[in-house]
């Protein structure tokens, strides 16, 4: 039991607890968007901690482990963002207790602005 083994074991345990919490959030939360929140942040932190902890335990693997961890850290938010956008555009309903929906407000503002612009253009070309 060297010092690096103890530190790496603690980091791996921290990571696996976060992995379990991410899975629990995916199971328990009420909505696709809430589930994406749990399934992206918790799971990314857990996976990065676990993989880097394995790299700390076995120093010869650290380079490759950091590559895998960096890849997960870069690509997981991108895929979650694409999935959230796709599920909003395919009209997946929000849950009951949703307070604010900024994306729809922004879309309505944009739509109103474009119609006002066209109305102005037609009004300007009238006389």
């Amino acid at each position: 039991m060297t010092a690096t083994t103890i530190i790496g074991g603690v980091v791996v345990g921290f990571g696996t607890i976060f992995l379990f919490l991410g899975g629990l959030g995916i199971l328990r939360l009420p909505d696709v968007y809430n589930r994406l929140q749990a399934g992206t942040k918790c799971t990314t932190l857990g996976a990065v901690c676990t993989i880097v902890g394995v790299g700390i335990i076995e120093p010869g693997w650290l380079c490759k482990a950091v590559v895998v961890a960096l890849f997960i850290l870069l690509t997981n938010p991108i895929s979650a963002h694409a999935l959230a956008r796709a599920s909003y555009k395919s009209a997946v309903p929000l849950c009951e207790g949703t307070v604010v929906d900024k994306y729809r407000e922004f879309g309505e503002c944009e739509e109103a602005g474009s119609t006002a612009e066209t109305a102005d253009a037609t009004a300007g070309s009238e006389p």
Partner: protein, 86 residues
């Protein structure tokens, strides 16, 4: 680390995988299922690296990297399909 500690880590991680699997089986919409499968794949990637340490085989890290790449490509493809862009 002792084998008992490894078994404890694996059981905690596999609990997360089972939660994601139940969500992927139950999910009301297609997006729910994709979220469940994505979480399952990320947890499995981390556990695969840990399994490589447990068994002393370095090749499992490469397998985990390829699995992460395939998960990313698959989720992006499904998202494009749901967005009617594919």
């Amino acid at each position: 680390m002792t084998p008992g500690l490894y078994i404890a880590f694996f059981s905690v991680g596999v609990g997360g995988v089972l939660c994601c699997m139940i969500r992927a089986l139950l999910g009301p919409t297609a997006s729910d299922r994709v979220v469940g499968v994505d979480g399952m794949i990320t947890i499995t990637t981390a556990l695969m690296v840990l399994l490589g340490l447990f068994l002393g085989r370095r090749i499992y890290v490469d397998v985990a990297l390829v699995y992460a790449v395939l998960a990313f490509v698959g989720v992006i493809a499904v998202a494009r399909y749901l967005e009617k862009g594919l």
